[in-house]
Symmetry: C2
């Protein structure tokens, strides 16, 4: 288990409940708007930029690029450029990325399974 030094100078184990713990930043990174969708797309293996773009409905090139750069920076996705014309760029999950696949996939599956219940609850709440 890693540790960090908090505001009081104490050395503490990583804990998302601490306002200044780096793990909270990481948690929010992997829970952003597009990351779970990129992971879902890359579950099947290697994809090119345009393939990712069409796999993820509604994502613009700018935002997809930003998301992929962040994931690359965080060591979750690797980017391979082939010196061809036209250019070809391939994205795949790193080993670290693969380790995150199962947790993110569980959340995605929950969303798809229970979206109906949530929407029903939402309607009932709004009627009241």
């Amino acid at each position: 288990m890693d540790t960090f030094v908090d505001q009081q100078g104490s050395e503490l184990a990583f804990n998302v409940m601490d306002q200044f713990c780096p793990s909270r930043v990481v948690l929010q990174r992997i829970g952003d708007k597009w990351t779970p969708l990129v992971f879902q797309a890359l579950k099947q293996g290697v994809l090119r930029f345009s393939e990712l773009r069409s796999a993820i409905g509604g994502v613009t090139p700018k935002v997809l690029t930003q998301t992929l750069r962040s994931l690359e920076r965080d060591g979750l996705v690797s980017r391979t450029v082939y010196a061809e014309v036209p250019p070809r760029v391939e994205y795949r999950l790193t080993e670290l990325g693969v380790s995150l696949l199962e947790p993110l996939d569980a959340v995605r599956a929950w969303a798809e399974t229970h979206a109906g219940s949530v929407l029903t609850s939402r309607d009932a709440f709004d009627d009241a």
Copy 2:
């Protein structure tokens, strides 16, 4: 499995990769900035507003209220008001909320376990 009607009028199973699928909204709701932290706090059982607030470092009352209202609306958290002076309000996970606890907890655990690796990768990327 629930279904929804997409832009072409077809009836499809819930799928977060579809831009117009309601499950995507649900996914983004449960992956927002504070929801995973509220769940982590409520894992232990019932908490009052002020207890939640101090359990989640750095959250302001306004944002915590907003988050809790959304979770209540979505049927994930229940809110109980006691007619006392001073007022007492208790929050707890609903049955639906409990079903989401395990997936969210897995993501939280991943963040705490691998935050060190992510930060290391980030530093290396920024040096290059």
